[in-house]
Symmetry: C2
Amino acid sequence: MATANASTHSKNARMKEVKKKTRLGMTFKKDASFGEWYSEVVVKSELIEYYDISGCYNLRPQTMAIWETMWEFFDAEIKKMKIKNAYFPMFITEDVLQKEKDHVEGFAPEVAWVTKSGQNDLEVPIAIRPTSETVMYPYFAKWIRCHQDLPLKLNQWCSVVRWEFSHPTPFIRCREFLWQEGHTAFATKEEADNEVLEILELYRRIYEEYLAIPVVKGRKSEFEKFAGGLYTTSVEAFIPNTGRGIQGATSHCLGQNFAKMFEIDFDDEKGEKALVWQNSWAYSIRTIGVMVMVHGDDKGLVIPPKVAAVQIIIIPVPYNDADMEAIFAACSSAVQTLQAAGFRAEHDFGKKNPGAKYNNWEMKGVPLRIEIGQDEIDGNQVRIVRRDNGSKVNVPTENMVEHVRDSLSNIHESLFTAAKVKRDACKKVVYTWEEFMTALNEKKLILAPWCDEEEVEKDVRTRTKGELGAAKTLCTPFDQPSLPEGTLCFASGKPAKMWTYWGRSY
Amino acid sequence: MATANASTHSKNARMKEVKKKTRLGMTFKKDASFGEWYSEVVVKSELIEYYDISGCYNLRPQTMAIWETMWEFFDAEIKKMKIKNAYFPMFITEDVLQKEKDHVEGFAPEVAWVTKSGQNDLEVPIAIRPTSETVMYPYFAKWIRCHQDLPLKLNQWCSVVRWEFSHPTPFIRCREFLWQEGHTAFATKEEADNEVLEILELYRRIYEEYLAIPVVKGRKSEFEKFAGGLYTTSVEAFIPNTGRGIQGATSHCLGQNFAKMFEIDFDDEKGEKALVWQNSWAYSIRTIGVMVMVHGDDKGLVIPPKVAAVQIIIIPVPYNDADMEAIFAACSSAVQTLQAAGFRAEHDFGKKNPGAKYNNWEMKGVPLRIEIGQDEIDGNQVRIVRRDNGSKVNVPTENMVEHVRDSLSNIHESLFTAAKVKRDACKKVVYTWEEFMTALNEKKLILAPWCDEEEVEKDVRTRTKGELGAAKTLCTPFDQPSLPEGTLCFASGKPAKMWTYWGRSY
C-alpha cells in the first residue's frame, strides 16, 4: 500500500531536527557511504528540503537557478526549431489514458487518481498525468487535417506525477518532478527520425556543455524503450560510486502507434489519408541529481560554472589591525566589476568568521571564491580559490576579470575531463558470460557484443537478479566499435549484432 | 456532485465537431451575446481548446506567448527585488492544510483529493494545492531562526487546482490554472506593507503597460479579503459588456496569522523571540481572459502589441499579372527588416486567398498587417493596416520600420484609452440605496460612500441576490475622492468612512 508520511510539526521535534540538519559541514564521505552522502549533500547545499510526503521535495532557489539556466538554453534552441510552448491540463480521464494499451500498461501502476473534490466523490476518477501523450493526442487528431497542418511541434514545461515506487531519491526518483515534454507530429518518418536526433543532441549539450558530464548517445533496447513507442534514443550517464548507469534524457520516435489509436490522420499531397509520424522527448530535474552525484565531493556540492547561481563568492578577511572599511569597499567593488563583466558574483558580509564562510560556500558548490584581506589591499591583488581542486592564487586586481573568465572556463573543462576519466576507468569490454559477471560484480560499465533479442535480455535480467538489482541494457551506442564477423553474443552465444552497454541502473 | 465529462472521441463525432468549430469568422457579436462571443473567440483565435474535463483547457501557443512575455517582465522585476524562485510540491497532507482555520474554510470546498495510486488506496488522502501557504510555511518555520535569515522571499511559477464551481470560464474560472505565487516573510510589518504595494504596482504595470487595460488599485473589504490574511490589496478591472468588476491580481499582507499557526518565529536583534510578518501575492492567466474581454471585437481577438506573439503579419497580394516572385521576395525582405529591428514579424505564404488570410489574422488579433502586391512593388511602398481601428495607409518601404514602431506604440495607447473611456463611462457615483439599485441594474461600476462594516456588506449581498448574482465590494480605491464630513453610508445610513467600489463581479 502506498503511504504518505504526515509529520506532526511539533515545535520541539522540528527544532531538534533543525539542529541535527544544520550541523556544520558534511558528515558522510562520498566514497564510504554514497547514499547517505547524497541525501546529506542535497539538503546541506540547500538544493532541496525533504517534504512531509515521501518522494516529494521542496526545490530551493539553488535548484531553480540551475534549472532555469538549462531551461533558457533549451527553450531558445527549440524555438529556433519552430517548436512552440503550450500547456495542457494535468488531469486525464480514464478512458483516454487507456487508449494505447502498451502505454497504459507501462504507466498504470504509478498513476495517482483524484476521486474527491471537497466532500464529494467525483463521478469518475481522474488521473494526474504521468506523461502527456494521451492528454495531447486527441487534440492533435482535431488540429491536424491536411499536410499543411504539419509538422505540429509543441513543448510544455510542467510537473508530472509517478506515484508508485519503493525508493524515492531526490531529483532521481521523485513522485512529482519538473520536466519539459515535447510532442511533435510529421508527415514523414524521415522528418521524425531527424528530429529525434536533433533533440538528443540538445540533451547531450545540456549534460556536456552545461553540467560538464560526459554522456553516451545511443538507442534503447526493445525491452527498455518507451511504452507504446517505436524506438527510444537516450543520453546515458554513469555513476562510478555506485557502478550504475543512469538514463539522462530520452528522445522517442513513437512511429504511427499513437496516431492509429488516436486517429491522427491527414490528407497528404495526393489527397489520400495518411497517419502522422510522432515523436516525444523529455528531460527532467534528474539532470541536477546526476550533476550532484558526478561532481560532488566530501566538502559538498560542486556546481559547474555555467549553471551556478553564484559563480564567484567574495569574502572579506578581517584581521585585528585591518582597515575593514577598505576591505569591504574592495569586496563591493570586486562584485561590481565582475557583475559588469557578466559574471554572477556576490559578497558575503555576514557575521560568521571567514573559515565558516569558506566551508559554507564550498558546501554550496560555488565554483570560485575570492578572498580580500589586508594583504590583498596592500598588494592591490585578490586571492582566488577554486572549488574543484582547491588551488589558490594571488592575482593583481587589474587582472581579476580575465583570470576569473579563464578559471571558470578551465573549471568546466576540468570537471568534464575528471568525470570522463573516472567513467572511462569503469568501462569494461567483455565477450563471455563469465567476464560479464565479473565486471558486473566490479560495478563496471559493461560493453558487450549482443544478439539484440528481447528474450535474451529478459534472461540476463533473471540470471542477475539480486539485492543490487538486475543488469539491464543501458543503450546501444551510436558510436559502435568494429564487430568482427563471427563475434558471439556474451549471453546467448548466438551471432552478435552490435555492441551494447549493460549494467545496473537507476 | 462534481462531474468529469469524458468524451468518446469517435472519429465521426469528432469530425463533425471540427467542421462546426472551423467555420470561418465569428458567429456571435460581442455586444449582442457576450458569453457566446467569448467562448467562440478564445477557441477560434487559437488561444485555447476546450478539454474533455470541464473547467480544464488546453492552452495553445498563442496563449503561452502572451503568458511568457508577462512572465519575463515580472520575473525580472521580482529578481531585482531579491525574490528568488523555488518550487514546492503540488501535494499537501490533510493535517497541514487544516492548520489555519479561516484559510482552510475558504478553500476546503474546492480542494481536489488524491486517494489512490495505481490500484491501491493511499493510507491518507492527499490534497492538490489550491494555493501554497500551507505547503510552504512549515519550511519557513524551519529555515527562519534569527533575524539574519530575514527577509525570506520566494516565488514559484506553477499551476494550482480549485475544483468546485458551477460555471467554468476559460482563463477566468478554471479548475487548473497557471499563476505565480510569491511568499515572503519579514521582521517588521513596515517591510511587509511596503512590499505589498511594490508588488501591486507590478501588477498594475502588467495590466496597463502590457495588456493596455486600466485598473484601479485598492484594498479589499474584510469580507472579501484573502482567507486567513490580515488585509488584501488588488488591481480591479471592469468588463463594460457584462457590467462586472473583475479582480485582476491580489497582493496580500498575511500579518502574523500564519506565523502563529506555523510557529514561524525568530530571534530578533535583542535576542527575543518574535513572529514574522508575511505576504503572499499572485497573478494568473486570468489576465489573458480580461484582455480578451476588454479588447476583443466582432472580428475576433485584439492583442495589445507588447504581448502579441506576432506583432506584424505580412501578406502577399497576388493579381493575375503580378510578378509573384518579386512580391514574395519583398514580403520576405520586409520580415527580415522588421525582425532585425526587433519586431516579431511573420509572413503568411499559405494557399488561402488574401481575404481569407486577412480574416484569419484579424481573428487571431495580430496588431498590424502589411500587404504587399504589385502596386506596392511598383510604388516601392507597403500597405499597413491596423487591427484595432482598421485604418489603412501606404508607407514608403524605407519608412516602414519607423511607421511600424509608431503604430505599435500608438495602438497600445489607443487600446488603453478606448478601454478607459468605456470603463469610465460605466462609473457611477451614488449616495443612496435607490441610486445604488438603479446603477446596479444599469450594470454600472458603482462608487459609493460606505461605513466599512462587514455586516452591512453581508446585508447588501442579501438584498441584491438574484439571477445575476449579488452586488459585492470590489475595492476601496487608494485614490479616494474627498468625503465631506457628514456623508452617510449608502446602505446603512451610518457615517461613511470611505468611498468604495461596488458591483457584480466575476
